[in-house]
């Protein structure tokens, strides 16, 4: 428990110090005025994809891929995108921003809890509507060398995109 709180504490500090938790960065991305959010997401994914592969080589980590439930991903993704643009926070940054004293993040959290409560109630009814479940699939190959190459190319592309967005922002 203390361990998980410390992990969250580090998460909160990184988000707070990079300012990526703020409405000005997230809402700013929705207005195409600020690319901090996608740049940090891309850099994080690129770094962790390579490090995770190394960690798994030592048997120190397992994959935890979420199932590909097509209907749920599309419907949920659309609602999530609308909510994130209007609110200007996502679930994790919402909580960090409460720590920063942002009262609109408190409102967003209260109504997020209400949405969570409603989801518990409607879950038995909508569970079957979200399918089909296409399995816990990812882009790894059966061959370890090919997987390594895929991850390297993937991370390089994401980092390239991050630096591309960075350049675009400077020109603006």
């Amino acid at each position: 428990m203390i361990k998980v709180i410390i992990l969250g504490f580090l998460f909160g500090i990184i988000l707070q110090r990079s300012r990526v938790n703020t409405f000005d960065k997230i809402g700013g991305f929705a207005m195409l005025k600020d690319f901090t959010v996608p740049k940090i997401l891309l850099a994080s994914i690129a770094t962790s994809a390579i490090l995770l592969l190394i960690e798994m080589q030592f048997g120190a980590a397992n994959l935890h891929v979420k199932p590909f439930i097509l209907g749920g991903i599309i419907v949920g993704g659309i609602l999530f995108g609308i909510g994130m643009a209007i609110l200007g926070y996502c679930p994790g940054t919402l909580i960090v921003s409460i720590g920063e004293g942002r009262l609109d993040a408190v409102i967003g959290t209260i109504f997020g809890l209400i949405a969570g409560w409603i989801y518990i109630l409607i879950f038995p009814g909508i569970k079957s509507l979200l399918g089909p479940n296409l399995g816990k699939i990812n882009l790894y190959s059966g061959n370890a060398v090919v997987t390594f190459l895929i991850v390297i190319v993937y991370s390089a592309l994401l980092l390239y995109l991050a630096f591309f967005l960075d350049k675009k922002q400077v020109i603006k």
Binding site: T36, L41, D104, L134
Partner: protein, 166 residues
């Protein structure tokens, strides 16, 4: 206290990536970072729905994310106090430039946004942390699809809702 300089995006990204790989370690948490399951978990505890089918499914991840986000809250609080960013504030400055200073308007849209955000995250089974960061790390097809759908929906909503922002 004078405001601290923001952490560079590249460093923030690398640190978040290292943290996620650390959390994934079998000796640490043996799961990736995630946040949105905390919301139905806490709502279910408050509403005393512990025996509901969904609450049983999310009991473990919900509990982990609750403690993780308690830590994130403390991290945000300590760090913002230490670097002079802490401020009790309802209307973000970028919001007021486009939508004005009307408090009721910000409260209404924050409520609608927060509701859709968590409902969407739960229907999709993840959020920016659990799907985009953690699924992206694992080259997960579900998470990469989620990321593309979210970006499209997010940018279209941004265009329609904020218009040509000044």
């Amino acid at each position: 206290m004078k405001k601290g300089k923001a952490l560079h995006w590249l460093w923030a990204g690398i640190l978040l990536g290292v943290l996620n790989v650390f959390v994934m370690n079998v000796h640490v948490s043996n799961r990736p970072i995630g946040a949105s399951t905390m919301f139905p978990y806490v709502a279910g505890l408050i509403a005393n729905l512990k025996s509901a089918a969904y609450m049983q499914i999310i009991a473990r991840p919900g509990n982990w994310e609750l403690y993780f986000l308690i830590g994130a809250f403390i991290g945000g609080l300590v760090s913002s106090l230490a670097f002079g960013d802490f401020k009790l504030k309802l209307i973000p400055s970028r919001w007021s430039k486009v939508k004005g200073e009307n408090k009721g308007k910000r409260i209404l849209w924050a409520a609608i946004g927060g509701f859709l955000l968590i409902l969407g995250a739960r229907i999709a089974g993840g959020c920016t942390s659990g799907h985009i960061l953690s699924g992206g790390m694992q080259l997960s097809v579900s998470s990469l699809t989620f990321g593309v759908v979210v970006i499209i929906s997010f940018l279209i909503t941004g265009k329609l809702f904020y218009g040509r922002a000044k």
